[in-house]
Symmetry: D3
Subunit: 338 residues, 6 copies
């Protein structure tokens, strides 16, 4: 029996509580073989298995915002299975072993989160550095800057439609911004950059820039299945067969029709979504044909790259190179000494 999604087991109240709790765990990435640990972690999935000699044990994958570790409860009891099955967040006590270079947690004791345990959800789950509601409100303020009433209405309608999911969706299954709130954070930084560059390249039509940014990835919400912790289990059937670019185009076509959006404007926005990956082999069969579509592509790629560089260098010492970053064509990045 495996646990499909963390979110399924928590009611809204539980989530609120968690957010207000403080946490004093050792981070998973800091666990060292030979040491003991005693703290809170999130259960990503678990399974009851048997050893070769038929003994039952519980195999659990634990996560926090710093990483993931496999753990074992060797002394199986129905009672412990129940604790594991009924709690998303557990307090475990155990010792860290190393097996063929991989760390493993031998759990000696486990209990569910109690009323008084104080844990911050952000410590257990990787997420955007700004509060979702704050991000959403700033994105909405950009939508308000759109002067063309029709385009503004279109953008607001589509945002409204996806509102509840926008608040937590990641921007990807893996890669850049693949965490809770990542889609919103990616969109927001692109809007900020777009606004700035509009001050340098003054001939740009900012209505299209803002609308294009807000709509360009919004159908990732129907391309991927994410739980409310920003963890994507898989792509949807339509996502795999068509992809968020095609889905986004249809969205604009249909929502545009509903409000009688001028056909040319609708097509221009659809074209922006269609062309924003720029290269056919990345999913854009047409290259940008308007300056705003061209800029949209660069806003998108700059935000992804600035994210990738920042995060890859986070864990590098000054004066050192990172490991090869697959996402960046296997580059070794360099962090200057000052």
């Amino acid at each position: 029996m495996s646990q499909a999604s963390i979110g399924d087991m928590l009611n809204d109240k539980a989530r609120e509580q968690m957010i207000s709790m403080s946490n004093n765990n050792k981070n998973i990435s800091d666990l060292k073989a030979g040491e003991k640990t005693d703290g809170f972690y999130l259960i990503k999935s678990f399974e009851v298995k048997k050893t070769t000699n038929g003994k039952q044990y519980i195999d659990i994958d634990l996560v926090d915002k710093t990483g993931e570790i496999n753990a074992k409860v060797w002394d199986y009891s129905k009672e412990i299975e129940t604790i594991v099955a009924e709690n998303s967040i557990v307090k475990v006590r155990g010792e860290v072993l190393e097996w063929n270079g991989t760390k493993q947690l031998k759990i000696n004791k486990v209990r569910g989160k109690l009323q008084d345990d104080v844990i911050k959800i952000n410590d257990l789950i990787p997420s955007a550095p700004i509060e979702p509601t704050e991000m959403l409100s700033e994105v909405k303020s950009y939508a308000k800057k759109i002067k063309d009433a029709e385009i503004k209405l279109l953008v607001e309608n589509i945002m409204k439609k996806f509102n509840s999911k926008l608040i937590y969706y990641p921007a990807a299954k893996k890669n850049h911004h693949s965490y809770m709130g990542g889609l919103l954070y990616h969109t927001l930084r692109m809007l900020r950059s777009g606004e700035k560059l509009g001050q340098v390249y003054e001939y740009l039509k900012m209505d299209y820039v803002y609308a294009g940014v807000i709509l360009h990835d919004i159908c990732k919400i129907i391309e991927m299945d994410s739980d409310e912790y920003g963890v994507v289990s898989d792509y949807t059937m339509e996502g795999k067969l068509l992809g968020h670019i095609i889905q986004g185009i249809k969205e604009i076509e249909i929502e545009g029709d509903k409000i009688g959006l001028n056909r040319e404007k609708s097509i221009i926005l659809q074209h922006m979504v269609l062309s924003h990956h720029y290269e056919p082999e990345f999913g854009s069969p047409k290259k940008p044909m308007t300056p705003e579509a061209e800029l949209l592509h660069f806003l998108d790629i700059i935000d992804a790259r600035m994210y990738d560089f920042e995060h890859a260098l986070d864990i590098v010492e000054p004066g050192q190179f990172s490991d090869k970053i697959w996402l960046l064509d296997n580059r070794n990045l360099y962090k200057p000494t000052e």
Copy 2:
């Protein structure tokens, strides 16, 4: 003053007549420098110009199914301009000159088509080798073979919508099947081949094969502007910014919604349209993920290639090679001696 489209100037009655007329022109491709000609041609476009010393003349591009020739009426008169402006089909008398290796027709006399002139439209305009109505009826008979009621209804509705244009649209601006009725002819041969291969690969779901073939290119009708002679003046604005693949997907989405088409079926058909060009650089951001989508691609390309080979070798002597065919990666094709 140039003549945008031949079709604009002919009423339906005139078209009917023309079809029944017999023709005894010399073919344009057979005209030789030094010879005279006296026959019927179609006016593709014309313009009144001035020579360097200020004299007016009429510059006309004439076509028939075998090619195109530039012609001049040096003795301008308002009366002749009127004849040229008011007639699509004219009888001209003149002599063929050669200028830097290019033939040119010096027109001495020109008149419009009279009531009694008997001309076959197919002699003046390149077109598919089967009667449009016959093709349309055969295509419809394939639509009838679709067993799934929803899919059949979708296909028939979309065909109905484009019915009047399907009858004459070419399959391309240039390249394969770029002539009157070409889209229908291309579709029909793919249906025939699809049916045959379905007898070899029996596990194929023929409903998707037939629906996919009929719908795969149908939005070329809204991607290109063609007159009723199958001559494409240009791509449409939406055609340029999105393309017939994207347009076709939206069509299925919207028309499917109207009839409550099962969502999975709609997505599968949209996926077939999306993937039928196979390679990203040819416009398909997704590769086929169902056997029917895979086959659709090969039906499409085989029909295009069989067309290209047939036409390129038409004008080659047995035992000889063709010139380099740009469309076929500059191959020189070979025509066996027997």
Copy 3:
């Protein structure tokens, strides 16, 4: 001591018997850890090894048409080694264990096939779905349809030469049709499809289509070393240094010369073999220059793809996607719900 090839140890009589035997094994792909099994399998290879503490044991790879499993006889005796060494097909009794996620069979008992055991060879070895002799006879009937007497003679002579191996050769070492009789099955389906498409594209010269299909891959028989169960141990020296395309061309040149085949026809057929992989990077330095050579390529690729799709989707549930298929550019294929 390892067993090079299954076929080496079976006389013809044994093979005949096997074909008539019925089988009630559990399929290897169905074996589950913790269960017992008792049935017939084919020995792919075996080796007597020692444990770290010096004890001898027998390591055996067993196969049936559904897959392969490693097995161990821990209680070594000279007698058991003899049984394993002298039988291709054995009846084993044992239990299935799992080791680091890989299944393994612990053999408790093993005996050779007895007179009365009834086993169908097709259950033990993957093979084409049609009887080899039936396939061969249908392929020969296509050769008979060739109207040009010289070309027909060439094709029949070459088929005769390879006759005894054609009956069991696979079409590849791995990938599509890499099973017993695969070469013949691939050829046959291409002939059927070629015949059908010849009814749509009537200008094709069917003599070249049929001869091209039959000859295009026939030198795979001298490119690869296959035992009579369709298992390819390796490519031949000439196969590696030249490849079946070059070998096929030489075959036509030499066999053509022997019967005084008209030179042009010989070159056209050689060209068809040379160009049938279409792209230089897939082994064809020339692209097809005749319509029949062009079609040959598409018949070949369609048959391979229809095979790949069918087999990949065989094990997928309706409404689900397959795993990534490496052979198909890592596509996830989709199986519609109905």
Copy 4:
């Protein structure tokens, strides 16, 4: 006898005057066949030639900021040749002819610029839209923002070295910013954009951003030979054999050494110059390994593209597409109706 460079024939005083003169020419791009013209143009080059029957004439290429036209003085006289040879700017009177679709100016009268003629140099020569001195001073103000004293000194020293040429050099022989002052204008807009994006991606080290932008293309000044009107006659020998990227790296190495620049900083700046074209096939054998190097590339390409789009759409009517733009992979750009 041809005129190598316009700049060779003008002293500084003449240049100053020209700048203050007003101009009432018809723009070259507006000249129409059949019309007369009477105005000031710049002589790009001229040659005395002979007609087939041996008569001398003067062949002149005239330019203004809107384009170029070939002109002929059919009535040759030594006196006219002298006028043409001794003046860069001439007043011509003549009529516009058309020859095989190309316009040509038949000059009837020609004289040099007189003391009282008032012409603005910007009307005759394409140039950046901001005054060079103003641009230079803004670029210098960015150099001043560099906090690291060593890097600031390096940047200021290199700028000083190229100061006199920076004022007029174009950014390219053709393509984007290939006009007088183009290098400075390109640099300036990148600095502005870099500053803005530094406000969004706050972790960036702005010292490297500013220094990288100012230095990235500065060695175009020794890669190309430009006259002081921003017209590049050719690349230099070193420019062709090494290119401005390699030249820029050596410049930083050597100038850095002179001031004892910290070695790591020097290498990081050299790496920024080396990697700013991003792709090996565009001249960068290394990809960016620092966030500032990564951003530099995008600042560069965005400025180029925003330039290309703006200029390509300048001459397009709203609601229309541009011609194919070779520089932009043959895209047809679209100008929205509003």
Copy 5:
């Protein structure tokens, strides 16, 4: 009536004579518009044509080793046509005109070569810098160095077979060594280089090196149709459909069989021919798998490149760059000042 091949009209005696004649023509590449010329040239082709007003004239293409010029005899007479038709080499007197930037020779007088005219064939036809017989004898001396008796016999037999054509065949229709004796010259220099490198890389089997070099291109003789002046009119039918690599492989297979050549050696030599173009897109579906095959490729390409560089720089002044060389990826080559 056009003249297919120069060689058709000369008997062997005439050729011998020509070779001993001295020549005092102006080179075609030195002819200047406005000058007169009086000298010997070779007729490449000619045709009797008519002017627009019906007058007959003779259009002749003349060549010498430095280039080609079109010439006209405006005063047609049957007698002059006969002179032109019956002589390959003519003495012409005329004046050089220029027409749209192209030089043309107006012939005033023309006569055939007389008994006493002394002309060196090498002045009229571009050819290798060593006497053919001398080259052939050196190539044969390398064949003699092959120690393996079978391989030596194979090489000598194949050389004998092509002996008479080897003496004059070019190595290509255009590009490197596309002149009389070019194939032999290319082969010879590769043999020399191979011998030298065999002294550095001593483990190489020189038998394969020498045999591989001699055989690698020898079937260009049956791939192309060349007249005895090294001018290739076209590729042969087999050349176009298969190419000299495939032809060479078949040659080795068949000639090897005749002398009972050890099969492994035959296959290794065939593999060398097959792989010597190295890249699939240049005609080699297999890459070299032996060191000698690997070296063969580099001997081939070095000789081609050294030829291309030498000839491109021949006409460049020291300290200057060549024009873009299409054959060398549009590089501008540089000639150092000393």
Copy 6:
């Protein structure tokens, strides 16, 4: 505690001794599971670790010229740790085990090298087949052949600068010539080949050939960190950010300036270094523009390939194929039977 570099622990005297010692070890590549060994090996690195139950042991990586093996001293004592820490070369006695298909050496006894032990350093470390001093002297003799005094001085100065490292540096971290003295050996063989080919292509300027070869890779010495045994631990910071090509160019620029080297010559040499990898994606943004630069590339690649083929085939039996060689695009090389 790990041992960073072998060289750090040996004084020069020790090195000399080692060179004169004879060795009678079993080669590491010959060690078989179940056997005992007793011989000298080099310690590549070691670490004191703990088993899961807390017992200390020493983990050592041993190498000789044939390969590498992991060894364990299970009975830890401070004394043994000292022996391992203080000796680079140790005599070990133990037995070979096999663990999951990997061999491991269980060490029973270990001691440092004694005064009387005679070991040849070349048996312990892979290195070039010629004595370094001999190679250096031959390379210097080529430098002496340079006739241009300035270029000769430049080459000699740069060689002097890197003299002490040239003697042992490898040509690469891995791949061809990645062993002690490999850089020198690679350079030497290219000089020999260059000299030979200069005899075939006599127009080449040998000064540039010799100087180009000697300088082309010399900055690998500052691109990589190698110990004196030719083992590269990593690339340097400048090596990663710029690479040896860019470093070599700067070296020539600066050293050239010091001796007043004629600028054109300096640029030509820099261009040779810049272009010697030939393709942008291999690090050369410019293609060779002089014949000597073109040749340099081929000398380089031929030497690398002749090395790769020789070494790959070393371990192949005649008549057999090698495994796939990743470096050679996964080719299987063939070794002829004779």
